[in-house]
Amino acid sequence: MSFPTVVFYVLSAILIFAGLRVITAKNPVHAALYLVLAFFTSAGHWLLLESEFLAISLVLVYVGAVMVLFLFVVMMLDINFEKLREGFWKNAPLAGTVGLIMVGEMVLILMSPEASLGSYKGAAPLAADASNIRELGRLIYTTYLWPFELAAVVLLVGMVAAIALTMRKRKDTKFVNPGDQVVVRRDDRVRLVKMAAVKRSEPVAEAESADQQA
């Protein structure tokens, strides 16, 4: 067994363990951290395939951005995970059965001689000075220009959607606009009312109406 093979199996074992723990861990923060572990081991797989750039971007994007965000959410929202997990053991048998059958079938199919996965040879090793990034860049800006542009549009939609869904003006806010305060004039706030010097016959009503005017 060559060294890369050993590394592959070790990484895979960790990956599967981490994946299982993501579902079974009681503490959501632990679950998230196990997910981080799973990403790291997947990145290791990329490295084995000589795709250094993908390995790095997996770590940067998923671990650096997605999971950090996720941890924030978990910590900020006080979600009662115990309650969410209530039905877990009740549904576990069915879920487990379905999952196991699924896995079993897939293994049987892919392992069957007809699948002949053995006939797939690995890609030829790259030269020592080959640059992943340069190749990717070249492809992205030439052959894969269209999907690349589309990806940009998808991101734009994501932005628009995020803004549309989250940006809102609260109506009950106590926010004060200093600009408004500065440009205010005396007439806006104060009004002088001329009062008659002599009291008339219905002083009470007069006073009330004066009050209202003020």
Binding site: V98, E105, I109, S112
Partner: protein, 683 residues
């Protein structure tokens, strides 16, 4: 204008008139309605005459082509198409010309009717349908025309739909025709199934010779000749439409419709549709002697026994109606004797003189203020001279007076039957000979009762008033229509009525003389009508004996039919003018026979009790057991209950929780996977 658009114009002009009068009649008024419909029919008539003259002079070619593809189902194309040959051209002329006369006549006849525009719309629609029927080049369109004329006939018989007798009559006509149409449709079905899958006449005729000896099994073990079964089924359709025994019962009742209709539809054109169809199908009928024999039997019974019924009728229109039945029987016998051209010849002459007689009768009825009972008439010749003369011409033509048109066609039929070698031809011949006497007798009985003798409306009116109620005009306000009062005088009808009478009288006299030679013994119908000369040499033998119309007429003076007709006239004169007590005595003496005749051989009662009541009983049974129990109870409500249970169940599956939805999806994938890889997984 090319021929295709010319033919289209011929067919569509009446339709346009009909639509305008029918849909906008309320807006454009009476006058515009009849102008527009008459214009449409006149266009058809003029163009049809042009087409016919083209054929006679040899300039026009036979046209056969589709005009519009209606639908395509599984490789079968159903098109609206025209087949215009000489047979068609002749029918087109007959239909459009008689229709034109009737249109003009209607202006006078329906003058006071509130349904004036509706009536014009109907008769124009009829003209369109009839033209489509005769011009068709395929069975589908034929069937369309067939049903369309049936529909218009139904509408027109029940035109005065407030009269119970009229609605009964139109229902009867409709139901009896249904029986015939059912046979017809089965026949078309057989054609579609066995004749190469096409419904075009030409394809069918081309496929027919190869199928001459083909047999089919309808009941297991019994082999029937395909051609015979097909032809008989098609003829069943003709029996309904052309009122042949035993499906003739609707025609006398159809006289409930206004008289112009009786002339146009129930004498001149629609009832000949069946005969036309059989002539068109002559290539098929020629292959089956059995079918021809069947045709002949049906025709013979109609020709003779319906004539007898004409003798005992007192309603002037009923007399003409039974005479029509009897004449249709003559034509049918001719078809059976393979004398298609003679039949079509008689169709043509009969169309003119019978329309004339009907319109004459209508004129009389108008003169009598809508009293139709001949016992109240008499001596009308003084008051209605034109009607009198034209009716006399019509009657003379009908009984086959030499040189009149009816003589040539009727005599040809009798001769053709005599020359036929079919087993039943001998019986048919004698039946027709007797029929000649009967025809002459009832025709002149009517003629003498109406136009000669005492002026009976003064004395008899009160006595027969009750009897006539059925025939009174619909409107309650027009009480004076109950017939003439003792002091009223009949008056001649207006020119719109007499003009058609005169116009129809001319061909009634002349057309036979001029048309017999080309039509029967020339090659006018060559290509349109096929006769198997080896098996049915009748017409050929006749042609050899024919030496011109004058010789034929002179020769007839020494033959039996002429003397029988003459004696019929004399007997009628003697009975009804000279010694009116004799018929009463005979009636007394042979009251049983008279009763049978008066009840139309009890066929109506038989049909009513057997079929109508039986069908109702069967219907009730089906309704109770089939509908109420099986369909409503088990199928409809049962299904609904089942569906309800099921839908509540599926609604339960829709829990509203994402995870259950996701699970469903996963299980779906799993299911698909398992189904497709079961083999691999199980291994």
């Amino acid at each position: 204008m090319d021929m295709k658009s010319l033919y289209l114009l011929i067919a569509l002009a009446p339709l346009a008139g009909s639509l305008i009068a029918g849909l906008f009649g309320w807006a454009i008024g009476r006058r515009a309605s009849h102008v527009v419909t008459i214009l449409g029919v006149a266009v058809s008539a003029v163009l049809s005459l042009k087409v016919l003259s083209g054929f006679i002079s040899g300039q026009t070619e036979v046209f056969n082509g589709s005009v519009y593809t209606w639908l395509t189902v599984g490789g079968h194309e159903y098109a609206v198409g025209f087949l215009v040959d000489k047979l068609t051209a002749m029918m087109m002329v007959v239909v459009s010309c008689v229709s034109l006369m009737v249109h003009i006549y209607t202006i006078g006849y329906m003058q006071e009717d509130p349904g004036y525009q509706r009536f014009f719309s109907y008769i124009s629609l009829f003209t369109f349908s009839m033209l489509m029927l005769v011009m068709s080049n395929n069975f589908i369109q034929l069937f369309f025309g067939w049903e369309a004329v049936g529909l218009v006939s139904y509408l027109l018989i029940g035109f005065w739909f407030k009269r119970p007798t009229a609605t009964f009559a139109n229902l009867k006509a409709f139901l009896v025709n249904r029986v015939g149409d059912f046979g017809f449709l089965l026949g078309i079905g057989l054609v579609l199934a066995h004749f190469g899958g096409s419904l075009n006449y030409n394809d069918v005729f081309a496929a027919a010779p190869a199928l001459a000896n083909k047999t089919i099994q309808i009941f297991p073990g019994v082999e029937w000749s395909l051609m015979t079964v097909t032809c008989i089924l098609l003829f069943v359709g003709a029996m309904g439409k052309s009122a042949q025994f035993p499906l003739h019962v609707w025609l006398p009742d159809s006289m409930e419709g206004p008289t112009p209709i009786s002339a146009l539809i129930h004498a001149a054109t629609m009832v000949t549709a069946g005969l036309f169809m059989v002539s068109r199908m002559s290539p098929l009928f020629e292959m089956s002697d059995t079918a021809l024999n069947f045709v002949m039997i049906s025709g013979t019974i109609t020709a003779l026994f319906m004539g007898f019924l004409g003798i005992v009728q007192n309603d002037i229109k009923k007399v003409v109606a039974y005479s029509t039945l009897s004449q249709l029987g003559y034509m049918t016998v001719a078809l059976g004797a393979s004398a298609y051209s003679a039949a079509m010849f008689h169709v043509m002459t009969h169309a003119f003189f019978k329309a004339l007689l009907f319109l004459g009768a209508g004129s009389v009825i108008m003169g009598m203020h809508h009293d139709q009972d001949m016992r109240n008439m008499g001596g009308l010749r003084k008051y209605m001279p034109i009607t009198w003369i034209t009716s006399l011409i019509g009657s003379l033509a009908l009984i086959g007076t030499p040189f009149f048109s009816g003589f040539y066609s009727k005599d040809s039929i009798i001769e053709a039957v005599a020359a036929s070698h079919l087993p039943f031809a001998g019986v048919a011949y004698w039946a027709l000979i007797i029929g000649v006497f009967v025809t002459a007798f009832y025709s002149f009985r009517m003629y003498f009762l109406v136009f000669h003798g005492k002026e009976r409306w003064m004395e008899n009116h009160g006595a027969h008033h009750g009897h006539d109620d059925d025939h009174d005009d619909e409107e309650p306000s027009t009480d004076h229509h109950h017939g003439l009062g003792p002091n009223d005088k009949p008056h001649e009808s207006p020119w719109v009525v007499t003009l058609p009478l005169l116009a129809l009288a001319i061909p009634s006299v002349l057309i036979g003389f001029f048309a017999i030679e080309p039509l029967l013994f020339g090659d006018f119908f060559k290509g349109a009508i096929t006769i198997d000369a080896l098996k049915h040499p009748g017409m050929h033998e006749l042609a050899e004996e024919f030496h011109g119309p004058v010789a034929m007429a002179v020769h007839a003076l020494s033959t039996l039919p002429f003397w029988l007709a003459l004696s019929g006239v004399v007997v009628a004169w003697f009975f009804y003018l000279k010694a009116p007590q004799i018929p009463a005595a005979i009636k007394q003496q042979f009251s049983a026979v008279h009763k049978v005749l008066e009840n139309k051989y009890y066929l109506d009662d038989l049909y009513f009790n057997l079929f109508a009541k039986g069908a109702r009983a069967l219907g009730t049974l089906f309704w109770k057991v089939g509908d109420m129990l099986l369909i409503d109870g088990l199928m409809v409500n049962g299904t609904a209950k089942l569906v309800g249970v099921f839908s509540r169940l599926t609604r339960k599956l829709q829990t509203g929780f994402i995870y259950s939805y996701a699970t469903t999806m996963i299980i779906g994938v799993l299911g698909l996977m398992t189904l497709w890889f079961a083999g691999i997984i199980l291994r």
